[in-house]
């Protein structure tokens, strides 16, 4: 690993988000390096999704600063943040329900990468090319004409990731990308995230309750509780941290997770 004297791609400094008197995000500091995959875990209501809402401009921070690639985006709106190269997915299977898959992605590939001052009467060649590429990459080509609301659950998840990728992001925020999927389907999404990293220098932050997924993909893990960071480090350290075991994992899950981490490490050695 090279010594990262580089600026972090995303940096949160003293970020607060209040809903009334309740701090959903409470004095959070977070750095994400270029090319890294950061996993965020934590119990329900820990403020994980709120943090995504704050970063992506949907629900601006009450205090603190967020910089992306050296630019202050604390007060920027979602459209500006998308154009800056930061794209997100939603926990609910958000899609443009009445549009076919291809049009869903065309919207993102046309309006996402830069500000379109006045649209043309056709989607341009570039948007079509990105759409073809993303459809193939996410294995949605066979579904391109299906209306989004008629998609099976796995393809809905894939569509959401595909439409985020189509905006050509440098930082991708994935909010529970495998929530509600079965074991085989989780494998599909896992393989997709791995391919994403090989494909281009993409930085990813992902929120996930499925620890197997989180541990397998993340270079570094953060656990949040009551809006604060209670753990930051390698996945291997999770089960050895008593606070994480107490507030989030529980003893049983911690043992199972240890097992999974062992397996992952072995896989890692096998591969190399």
């Amino acid at each position: 690993m090279d010594d990262s004297a580089h600026e972090p791609l995303l940096s949160c400094r003293g970020v607060f988000k209040y809903f009334g008197a309740m701090a959903a995000v409470d004095d959070l500091n977070l750095d994400v390096q270029q090319g890294e995959v950061l996993g965020i875990g934590g119990p329900n209501g820990a403020g994980k999704t709120t943090l995504f809402d704050v970063i992506s401009g949907l629900n601006p921070a009450s205090a603190g600063t967020i910089t992306f690639d050296g630019n202050d985006i604390t007060k920027a709106n979602p459209v500006q943040i998308c154009h800056a190269g930061l794209s997100r997915t939603y926990q609910l299977n958000a899609a443009f329900e009445t549009l076919p898959v291809r049009e869903n992605i065309l919207c993102a590939s046309y309006y996402g990468p830069r500000n379109v001052f006045f649209p043309k009467l056709r989607f341009d060649r570039e948007a079509q090319r990105i759409t073809d590429e993303v459809l193939e990459f996410t294995e949605l080509l066979d579904y391109e004409m299906v209306i989004a609301r008629e998609l099976p659950v796995l393809q809905r998840k894939l569509l959401m990731i595909a439409s985020a990728l189509a905006t050509r992001p440098r930082l991708l925020l994935l909010d529970e990308p495998v929530g509600g999927l079965n074991v085989d389907e989780i494998e599909v999404v896992m393989a997709l995230v791995r391919r994403m990293r090989e494909d281009r220098p993409l930085t990813v932050i992902l929120i996930e309750h499925v620890m197997r997924f989180l541990v397998a993909l993340s270079d570094r893990v953060v656990v949040m509780h009551h809006g604060s960071k209670i753990y930051e480090g390698l996945a291997e350290g999770l089960t050895k941290d008593q606070t994480v075991v107490d507030v989030y994992l529980g003893e049983g899950a911690a043992r199972r997770l240890e097992h999974i981490i062992d397996e992952e490490l072995h896989h890692g050695h096998d591969a190399s």
């Binding site: 992506s56 949907l58 709106n77 979602p78 459209v79 943040i81 998308c82 154009h83 794209s87 997100r88 939603y90 958000a94 899609a95 443009f96 329900e97 009445t98 549009l99 076919p100 291809r102 049009e103 065309l106 919207c107 993102a108 046309y110 309006y111 996402g112 990468p113 830069r114 500000n115 379109v116 649209p119 043309k120 009467l121 056709r122 989607f123 341009d124 060649r125 079509q128 090319r129 759409t131 073809d132 459809l135 080509l141 391109e144 004409m145 299906v146 209306i147 008629e150 439409s163 189509a166 905006t167």
Partner: protein, 362 residues
Amino acid sequence: MTIPSTPAHGSSGAYAAARRQDLRLDLAIGFALLAIAVIIPILSPGKYILGQFTLFFIWACVVTQWNLVFGVAGVYSLAQMAVFFLGGYAAAMLGFYLEISIWYGAWVGAVFAVFVSVVIGAATLRLQGPYVLLLTLAIAVVIQALVQSDVNCFFYEGKICYPLTGGPRGLMKFGDLGFRDWLAYKQAPLGTYYLGLLLLVINTIFAFVIIKSPFGSAFRALRDNQPLASSRGIARVKYQILVFALSGFFTGLMGSVYAGHFRTIGPALLDLDLLLFLFSMLVVGGLGSRWGPIIGCIIIMVANELMKDLGEWRMIAFGAITVAFIVLLREGVVGVIQSVWRGYIVPRVPWLSDVRRSGLAE
């Protein structure tokens, strides 16, 4: 496949093929309807029928433009008739006070209608769903009340007092489209008939191009999921104002045509039952669909003729039909035709099924 596969703009074959098939279907339906409309006057159906057709052309335009805002962009605006009224009124006042021909005044009216429409669109930006209905309805009601209560004499003609806006009676004697002078008296209705038809054709092409273009995609994206759309680079403020501006132009233009055709325009245009009448066209045809407004307009105007004897009960019938469609047939007649097409016809006709398994959005 029956279509030579030269995918336009490098887009994938199946989608492009479906779009081409959509276009050919649109052209086929369009030319069939156009042929019928061109032929009708040749059968000399009489002045009344011609007049009803002219009115149909005007309402079909208004509902088509309304559909862009209400159906495609999903902004529940009831101010459509207010935009129509103000566009027509601007042209009528120019004709009345400055003696400007309605042929020129119509363009001023259309531009004024765009301005009004944009202001209304901007006013609704902070509201969602039913609150947009309330605000826009209030705007229409207030405009009507302002004109109706305008009884201060602006000038006298002999002993008769004229308010600035004409008051409850509205405006008259501002000139007309002039077909009575150019054509023989008996042929004059043909002038407005074909003018209305021409404008309906242009207006329909305009609306279809918007619906099929990236504009339409942006409008639908915002309608379907506003937070997601903004995270994908589509700004609500910009596109909501844009859709109001785009739909305002033809709406206002048709207001002037209405004024020129009837040689009068008054606050009665803002009556609730006329709004409900047009709204039932929008709903029965199919909100957000391309052909919905025209098909809805045909159905409701025919129904209106058939129910002539019911008098006041007609409006109750239209109300009941509208509610029935909203509850039972959300996607309107076009939606029903589409599901029959996809569910029964396409699977049974082999050469159709490879192109159109699931179809496009609208």
